[in-house]
Symmetry: C2
Subunit: 370 residues, 2 copies
């Protein structure tokens, strides 16, 4: 993976390296320079940022979209009724069926989770299918049944749907896009702006399960580890956490681009530094083994049933305990902390006592992971 | 087009033919019998119904989705705040750019219109893009700019977005799925259940413009008529109509499958007959000419900027006058009426004094029209 500048650094050279990283970032301020779309534009990493911030955002700019959160918050114009949240994701995962889930379950959980990160309880989903001519009807049914089961589990209804068909060779079996509306059930403003130096970074469980499950399921690798996707709806875990403490600053689900990319977004958005502790990162042994064999850093691998929470320092222990009390948070851990400087930078303190800069993902070693 | 049983009928043979049509419909009660997806499953016609009612609905069934309207109506759980509407559509139109519009404008207007048919004012849209590797960035920008312009025109913001990239040969340039949330601004229950015998069918303008513009733009035909898509946002036209009369029973936008398919849905949903007057159907001369050359019935061709309204008989004249006062309704006309029997059947009184049954579209002569 080309994602990170893998240089152990310390002392004066460490400071210089960090300053260089800031300068590199400034130079690389997302701009869409390529003339054609590449797979990297779908990675969730720097190319995706360039596409979104350099191309879509200048056109579509508005106060709800501009924060580039995974959801938009709004209220009916007369300011009556509760705050609502809106979110959407397209799902193009390959293969469609994989250990631990399938595209239908992923499509429900993915949008439920984007909404849950706003502290919102999902009410209704929409689903739009693009089907490839010749795709087996039995597989459409299997995906629909899986969506229905996932929706029941998450307590939402698929309230609106649409289906289009394209010619053979103009899709890859089935793509599905979900959107969701949710009711915001917290008074908290869960945004990067709430993050403060000293805050702790908590993750709800093991990292990289989904991405590695997909990689292995593709069968392109000489690797047969037993790794299952972690796809799961996180709204109840979020509800449990927020009912135990109001010292939660911000919530994100580290999907495409992994924890590294999410942490970079928060560090940039809050103008703080985030320091992760490599030894504290929970990763299943078989996932770590697969990552090592493939030379992939689990920090960059997608999760589909995990959240990262930034919490006030005094609430970190409670947050971990509460998360661990929930079936979806058993492996929760404090994995890092927020510092005032260097602003906009994510650092990793490695198990060997070094420190390195954790960059946003560059390129896309794992296309079509969700 | 195989869509209709083109048999002029009258008197006793007419009655028999109608009874046969009812029996055929009963036998053909939507069931998904094909083992593989065909282009016809994307037509909006009978195969689409079979896919949706025979496959998706049994899995995803719930009170909001079951009516199979173009939108779902809901209110926040505490019943505070206004009624809201949710809708989604995937757009796979080919070509992406065509006379009168492009996929971006279509994607905004399409969802705005689905919501407008609930008497709802669109508030926020989401947009999810599936991009094909190698697609020109300039064309992405053009689509984004077009969506932004359409959103401004419709008074909505694209509040949430997502982008995925798939390999070359796994898409066709760009697909986009929009979803929308709207606030319902009418007390009326605009549903087929409100339709009564004697009601009139009003359309807001000329039929078949969008579908024929796409057909011609593909350049596969030896035909060079000047036909532009009618893509337009209809929420303001709906607002104008509903503020002039509360005798509107039901609104639909006749997109895929055309007016014929929408009328069949209403006739079935309301358990009434609908009789259309061929001589009253507004169709531009060049569109009619193109349809005749291609042997296509304009009743089955998609519209993207027209509505069909069912109105009480005493309100028909007012409705037409009000629609004509609006730039998007200048060619509005009464085109038919509702009768008690034969239930579930749409009839066309032809210009030559005959009557034929207008069936739901079968097959898909116009794939990827939206």
């Amino acid at each position: 993976m080309e994602a990170s500048d893998e240089r152990p650094i310390g002392g004066a050279s460490r400071e210089r390296a960090v300053l260089e990283a800031i300068e590199r970032r400034r130079r690389r301020r997302p701009r869409m320079t390529e003339e054609r779309i590449t797979l990297a534009h779908g990675s969730g990493g720097r190319a995706t940022q360039a596409l979104i911030e350099g191309l879509f955002l200048p056109e579509l700019t508005n106060p709800l979209l501009d924060p580039l959160a995974d959801h938009a918050l709004f209220q009916a114009p007369e300011k009556v009724g509760p705050r609502l949240a809106l979110s959407t994701d397209a799902f193009v995962v390959k293969p469609l069926f994989f250990p631990g889930g399938d595209i239908g379950e992923l499509a429900v959980n993915g949008t439920v989770n984007d909404l849950a990160m706003a502290g919102a309880r999902p009410l209704y989903l929409s689903a739009a299918f693009i089907l490839e001519e010749g795709f087996p009807a039995a597989d459409v049914r299997r995906v629909a049944a899986s969506m229905a089961a996932a929706a029941r589990r998450a307590g939402v209804a698929v309230a609106a749907a649409d289906t289009k068909v394209v010619e053979r060779g103009k899709a890859d079996g089935l793509y599905v896009t979900t959107a969701g509306v949710a009711i915001v059930e917290t008074e908290l403003d869960l945004s990067p702006a709430a993050i403060r130096p000293g805050d702790r970074i908590v993750v709800s469980g093991t990292l990289a399960d989904h991405g590695m499950a997909i990689m292995i399921a593709r069968g392109e690798l000489e690797l047969e580890a037993e790794v299952e996707s972690d796809t799961a709806p996180l709204h109840d875990l979020v509800r449990t956490l927020l009912s135990a403490t109001d010292a939660v600053r911000c919530l994100r689900d580290p999907t495409r681009g992994g924890l590294a990319t999410i942490m970079n977004e928060l560090a940039l958005g809050a103008e703080v530094a985030i320091v992760l502790d490599e030894a504290a990162l929970p990763v299943k042994p078989q996932v770590l083994g697969a990552c090592e064999i493939l030379g992939i850093d689990p920090l960059y691998v997608a999760n589909e049933g995990k959240l990262a929470a930034v919490v006030a320092p005094e609430a970190a222990e409670v947050a971990v305990a509460v998360l661990r009390s929930h079936p979806l948070g058993r492996d929760a851990a404090v994995v890092g902390e927020v510092r005032a400087t260097p602003q906009g930078i994510v650092l990793l303190e490695t198990a060997f006592g070094g420190t390195r800069v954790v960059e946003t993902l560059v390129g896309d070693p794992l296309p079509r992971i969700c």
